[in-house]
């Protein structure tokens, strides 16, 4: 694949104020402001912004974008692209490959004159019953996230975290366990994990969680008996599991619940002080992002001599891969955050 005249991806992938721009293809990947042509990795609000003229993404990502922002704002032209199918945009060969982050999440692979770059978007390597698993693609530059790029972040198996939750429900059968989980991805994953662990009772949802759960079901991810928490009796909620946005679990909304045990499903819960400062009684370390080991293993697996880090703790990841001879570059893309980090929010804020 390598020729001596193969261009370095730096020559054709540029960081512009609107985001990462593929010059010979004339498109942006996950631009932060409305553009003419956008390829979208996944539907989280910091990656999928409204108002682009032409949007290319997986069918699931486009479906979720339409639910979140409305049909019109999800792109004037919406082009669904199946995983693995190669398409030529301008002079660039482009395809999508599963990223394992949330339903529909994709890596964007781009090839120009024998030089290949892969933009991972957000990703994880742990199995997730609600989405297709990450598939590594060998490349010259791997563009990675670094949300949890510190060696203190090692996510335990999610099944063990769900077992902790169920053990607590058994110990406090008269209390409501309210689980804070981001509305897109985390919420459905927690539900699916609960179902796999044998929890077949109704799961109650905050209003903000309902539309995306319905959309997941429509897209073929069964979630079982889901009911609105808002209209349920306090008595029905004793011993029940309720899922709500992280911003609502320790605030006024939760007062309707029966002596709630406040739980939060997030990779940040690995750090006790984080749990304590947010008033979380039962932290559940369940994350949709790669942890320290997964980030490093993925860099090795794709075999790229160079990584570009979009956002997160880039300094630690770059420091670590340098020890193995991999060059690292911090893109410092502004506007990407972390949906797991969301602060007290009304409804479904990012």
């Amino acid at each position: 694949m390598k020729h001596f005249d193969t261009p370095h991806p730096e020559a054709w992938l540029r960081v512009l104020p609107d985001g990462l721009f593929c010059e010979p293809g004339g498109f942006y990947v996950d631009p932060v402001r409305p553009v003419d042509r956008a390829v979208i990795t996944h539907a989280h609000a910091d990656h999928a912004r409204p108002g682009h003229a032409h949007v290319l993404a997986s069918a699931e990502t486009l479906a979720i974008m339409r639910v979140r922002m409305g049909v019109d704002r999800a792109g004037t032209v919406q082009q669904e692209q199946p995983y693995g199918q190669v398409l030529t945009i301008g002079e660039v060969r482009v395809w999508l490959q599963p990223a394992g982050h949330v339903l529909g999440a994709a890596q964007v692979a781009m090839e120009w004159r024998g030089s290949r770059a892969v933009v991972s978007g957000d990703y994880k390597r742990a199995p997730d019953p609600t989405c297709a698993p990450f598939e590594p693609i060998p490349c010259d530059v791997f563009v990675t996230e670094a949300t949890f790029a510190l060696p203190v972040f090692r996510h335990p198996p999610p099944e063990a975290e769900i077992a902790k939750l169920l053990a607590s429900v058994a110990l406090f059968p008269e209390r409501t366990h309210v689980v804070g989980a981001y509305a897109l991805g985390k919420c459905q994953r927690v539900i699916a994990l609960l179902r796999r662990a044998g929890w077949d009772r109704p799961i109650y949802l905050h209003g903000a969680q309902m539309p995306l759960c319905a959309e997941y079901e429509r897209l073929g991810v069964p979630l079982g008996d889901l009911r609105p928490a808002t209209v349920a009796n306090k008595a029905d909620l004793a011993g029940a599991i309720v899922i709500a946005p992280p911003g609502a679990i320790a605030d006024r909304w939760a007062r309707r619940l029966a002596e709630p045990v406040v739980c939060l499903a997030s990779g940040w819960m690995r750090v006790r002080q984080r749990a304590r400062s947010r008033g979380v009684e039962l932290p559940l370390v369940i994350s949709d992002h790669a942890d320290w080991d997964e980030l490093n293993a993925t860099v090795d697996e794709v075999g790229a001599p160079e990584i570009w880090v979009t956002h997160g703790r880039e300094e630690a990841l770059i420091h670590e891969v340098a020890k193995r001879g991999v060059r690292g570059r911090a893109l410092r893309l502004l506007g990407y955050g972390d949906e797991e980090e969301d602060l007290p929010a009304q409804g479904e804020a990012a």
Binding site: P151, R154, P156, L171, V261, R272, Q273, R276, S277, G279
Partner: protein, 528 residues
Amino acid sequence: MIAFAELLERLVLTPGRLAKIALLRRYFATEPDPDRGFALAALTGELAFQAAKPMLIRGLAEARTDPTLFAWSYDYVGDLADTVALMWPAKPTNQPAPGMTEVIQTLIATPKTDLPDIVAGWLDASDASGRYALLKLITGSLRVGASARLAKVALAELAGGRIAPDEIEEIWHGLTPPYLPLFEWLEGTAERPDPAGAPVFRPLMLAQPLEPPDFAALDPAAFRAEWKWDGIRAQLVAMPGGRRVYSRGAEDISNSFPELIEAMDFHAVLDGEILVLRDGVVAPFADLQQRLGRKVVGGKMLRDYPVHVRLYDMLFDGAEDLRALTFDERRVRLEAWFARTQPARMDLSAMIPFQTIAELSEIRDGTRAASIEGLMLKRANSPYVPGRPKGQWWKWKRDPLSIDAVMMYAQRGHGKRSSFYSDYTFGLWREDGELVPVGKAYSGFTDAELVQLDRWVRNHTTNRYGPVREVERGMVMEIAFDAAQRSNRHKSGVALRFPRVARLRWDKPAAEADKLETLMNTIENLSH
């Protein structure tokens, strides 16, 4: 260690008392001996190995981790043990996670120099929460918000209601880890362990607050009156098996008061109030605070804050249990014992003569010494009964003082109140027009008022600092307190005793709240 680590993790984050008891009970009910006994010792601070220094943990981390990554991680996490527990790069091992008993026994028996290698092996075999529990255990910093009392309540539940927490309390300090006879007794397979001559704690008899409706029922002839001193309640226990000073919560505070231990050259169990006394005058509570919570008390402390015990009851005279006697009978025994023994650093609480309740009420109103909180009324024929038996002992506090203060900051509460801003820092106006904080109150309002206050805080926030909100200067609260004392710990120079919200002054503009000077004048009046 796995079950203990899980217990710790939950206890650290659980605010509710009942939930903590449930977690402890489950642990004691499901874990085997002697693991559960060592865990109990760890939670109640009764383990007898010398704690390792944090340097040990740092050394382990340096040997195993990249220094740059360690520095960034420590900076992020903020706690040394937590950082190492989370980032520990475990070497593959086929050892199982170490058991509680193995860990404790090894820590007791191993010389410090051998510890790092052993601990590293344990860390390799544990997961992150197991590593955290281990590191906290070996450095002796196991603060999990579960008091020793809570553990005893959970143990009593293990006995299914047959045994009261106070009964456990009475033998507790005569037991040693891993408490096998205690668990046998709780589970009904053995008799109650006999503390023999050990210096055990005896649960205290407490008083109820006297409220106006109770006055009428009081027969002056049936009661005895004493001053209620503003010190700390203590039980002095001197037995053939040793000498101890206990707090009212059964905590062994002997280390804070070596001069008292030295003075206890007798065999008796006494109830009294620890006070700082200079030339016969009781110093403000803030002086006594200097002596609390110290492992070692230096010579300067002993000179500058000399302590003294004002005795008011006697539970044991030698080996003889006096608790079934009446108050009057015990008082006679106490006076006779005192005359005979002449103990250093102690005196008798004076009995206040009175004929009528009205006369007593006048005496109470006339009290202006800061070190006196009011009066104690004790039924003459009351036996010494643990807890707060109804109608036996009354505390009749002086009417509180009050000020109109302005709310400055509000913080979220805990447990049931975690969605409410329920802890309020209030301030008074200084001459230069600056509002300075003088205290914090989190009680005194009704549930309905809490909802109103919470709404007000949310609608008048000017700044946020984590869980704390700074609010507009617009909410005047009447604050009741028992005394104002000088303090150089506070910016205002004054500390309040037992501040609480007496009334919400929705009607009063903030500018008309009290001046700091007004409060300072009450200090002047109150001191000798």
